[in-house]
């Protein structure tokens, strides 16, 4: 009902000329700095949103299976590359609100990254396990890098990030390895493989300076850290044994490490199978604290200024969101903004945060100072929210 009410005036005023497939839309010149997309995963659709007016601008359907979909942006902020579960890679233009290019590149995919120069888009795949790299402009395949286990079988790939200099890093869930792929010559990728990094890496992140790659481990308590500035990078364990030998809780949803939470010298990381956020010093990589939270953390994300860290949770605690005040390292607020909060995204300077309330079919916008609700948008089963400010950030 609400949706129709939102769309009727829009359709009438613009008459959606591009839907007829004839002339290009007559669009006013516009910037992209306050645009973003929300994944409507049940319908294979992305919603294009404006973070200044807090409105839904359009919906782009036809993107396939968007469970666990993720998005990276070209640095013009206009092109969004959407990675679907079904292995599809789709480039959507946020200004024309159209699909510009689409390839079915794998059987089962989990996300991707874009090179620092914006020329290469890489997809991380479960089936067949590996990384495929595409020309960002044409979506033509330029490199296919299989991920293998010792016995030659394929490994699922997780934690793919961009690194400075046309490089990517990723981790192999089934092979306990981290790979660094140099695509300065895309037709001849050079892959450096680090084995024995720890059991079952499930996701990873790169620090904003592009220096440290950190993979979370599912099969053991700890994370694997690689200093990429070293001449010969190697992996070492950090926060080893953070569970102190206690039985972990059942993990109903894997934490996500992307969305790096760094505030000053500290990084905030989700503990697997525990109701805790771990605090680590980024100079020494020693644990300097742990914060008890309301459930098993999924996303632990710093507001862009680092003053707050917001945490959402795995089911059955995913109706809550908590706010950590970083100077005091205390939970200062517990919010219940909706049912099944799957994702959070800050506006570029962090005065507001957008949250997906999947089971309310709503996206809620909150003021991060006084926690008041600024807007609520009707969106069908929203999951990931991605704003164009990601285009300028390493590892996003």
């Amino acid at each position: 009902m609400k949706r129709r009410a939102l769309f009727a005036p829009l359709a009438a005023s613009l008459a959606m000329p591009w839907l007829g497939g004839c002339a290009a839309p007559d669009l006013k010149p516009a910037g992209t700095g306050d645009l973003g997309v929300v994944i409507e995963r049940g319908r294979g659709t992305v919603a294009i949103v404006n973070t200044s007016t807090r409105t839904l601008l359009a919906e782009v359907p036809g993107l396939g299976d968007l469970s666990h979909a993720s998005v990276v942006f070209a640095r013009d902020g206009a092109s969004a590359f959407v990675f679907g579960r079904d292995g599809a890679l789709t480039r959507v233009n946020l200004l024309t609100q159209r699909i510009e290019a689409r390839v079915l590149q794998a059987g089962n995919s989990i996300g991707g990254a874009i090179s620092a120069d914006g020329t290469l888009v890489a997809a991380q795949n479960y089936t067949p396990g590996g990384v495929k790299v595409f020309d960002a402009r044409t979506l033509e395949l330029v490199a296919d890098i299989p991920a293998t286990m010792a016995d030659g079988r394929r490994s699922r790939v997780v934690g793919l990030v961009d690194l400075p200099g046309r490089r990517f890093a990723y981790a192999l869930f089934d092979a306990d390895a981290i790979c660094i792929a140099d695509l300065s010559q895309p037709e001849a990728p050079r892959v450096t493989r680090l084995d024995g990094i720890g059991r079952q890496p499930y996701d990873a992140l790169v620090t904003p300076d592009g220096r440290h790659y950190i993979a979370g481990l599912f099969g053991e308590d700890g994370l694997a850290l690689v200093d990429l500035w070293q001449r010969e990078p190697h992996a070492r364990r950090i926060l080893a044994g953070y569970g102190r030998g206690e039985q972990a809780l059942p993990v109903y949803k894997m934490p996500h490490l992307r969305g790096w939470a760094v505030a000053g010298r500290q990084a905030y990381l989700p503990a697997v199978g525990r109701h805790e956020v771990l605090v680590v010093d980024t100079q020494t990589w020693q644990e300097v604290g742990r914060i008890t939270v309301a459930g098993q953390p999924v996303f632990v994300i710093a507001r862009p200024d680092g003053r707050q860290v917001w945490v959402n949770f795995a089911l059955p605690d995913y109706h809550r969101v908590q706010v950590i005040d970083t100077p005091s390292q205390q939970v200062v607020r517990t919010l219940e903004p909706g049912k099944a909060i799957l994702h959070m995204e800050f506006t570029p300077r962090g005065e507001a945060v957008w949250l997906s309330a999947r089971d309310d079919n709503r996206v809620v916008v909150l003021d991060t100072q006084d926690y008041q609700t600024l807007a609520a948008l009707s969106v069908d089963s929203p999951s990931g929210i991605f704003f164009t400010a990601r285009a300028t950030r390493v590892g996003f």
Partner: protein, 110 residues
């Protein structure tokens, strides 16, 4: 804490067999499988971090084995035990439907 809750809830939930599970609960189970199990197995259940759970993929799996995996999880893999959230009867109900081809969620009312 959660374990205590589960221990109390389980005998009560066991009473909810396939026959007397009400329609609302069935719909919430369908949504749970599609949306939450779907985080690892895919909303179309074609697999991801977890294996595919389509009718074809489960063709040679006994229903009891599927139900037991739901209830007890698979140690050493990311598959958790769901017994704190599902009764044996509910796990069996899900297992039967997975092997038949899992129902779709009803379309959201616009």
């Amino acid at each position: 804490m959660r374990r205590v809750v589960a221990a109390v809830a389980l005998p009560l939930a066991l009473a909810a067999s396939a026959q007397d599970m009400d329609r609302a609960r069935q719909q919430s189970l369908v949504r749970l499988v599609r949306q939450d199990c779907g985080a690892c197995h895919g909303m179309r259940l074609t697999g991801g971090l977890g294996p595919a759970l389509t009718r074809e993929a489960l063709a040679d799996k006994p229903i009891e084995a599927v139900a037991a995996t739901i209830v007890h999880g698979r140690p050493g893999t990311p598959m958790p035990p769901w017994r704190a959230m599902l009764s044996d009867g509910e796990a069996h109900w899900i297992a039967v439907r997975l092997t038949q081809g899992f129902p779709e969620e009803p379309k959201a009312v616009p």
